[in-house]
Symmetry: C2
Subunit: 105 residues, 2 copies
Amino acid sequence: MENELDHADCPVTATIALFGGRWKLLILYVLSRNTRRFGEIQVRIPAISKKVLTEQLRELEADGLISRKEYKELPPRVEYALTDFGKSLCPLLIDIAAWKRKNIG
Amino acid sequence: MENELDHADCPVTATIALFGGRWKLLILYVLSRNTRRFGEIQVRIPAISKKVLTEQLRELEADGLISRKEYKELPPRVEYALTDFGKSLCPLLIDIAAWKRKNIG
DNA sequence: AATAGTGGTAACCTAAAAGTGACTAATGGA
DNA sequence: TCCATTAGTCACTTTTAGGTTACCACTATT
């Protein structure tokens, strides 16, 4: 018989965990078009609160998908951008979207 | 400026919602190898409880990924199988796993 | 009369994620 | 003097997914 299975070992699970958060895909999409300041992201995703946006950005940063650059100015100025690793995700996301168009519409 | 973005419109979000549940990938994996009865799935994924297995199966069925065939016997006998739509997902999952191997290891 | 076998349900609990609203630091400008 | 600005934090509540345990129907077998 097959071995017992455990989802912790699943490479698909591990991969979608990178961008599976409630707002992460949208954030990645926004940053894929341009480096953006915190407030610029908020304007483009108005339904997200500051707290949650901060959390999602921190997680994306921790996973190496985006970078955070803080300029020591006042008022504060922080720029977020995709890292190379983050950019490497884009073709995969495009594949997923293409699968949807083909199989669901 | 770009339109406001809402994650409900995101094709990637819609797609991963199909298999993003806690145990769905594992269930799909099990069924990709063979049609299985409820109890056979349980044995292969021992960490999942009956209640949650039932829930996940119902959702997969509602999304059209698997089929449920009940034989009117006693004791009960129910067989779950991938639908064609469910099978169409496999190449995509393989792509995602391949991306992981290439970009993460 | 009791038990095993199968595919569930019902009632309840818990932890994590997400959401809300008020608040802050530090400066320039009116 | 007071406000605007920016990128947050803090304390709190709500929502949701998932988990636990007990129980059920119906028959064949012992």
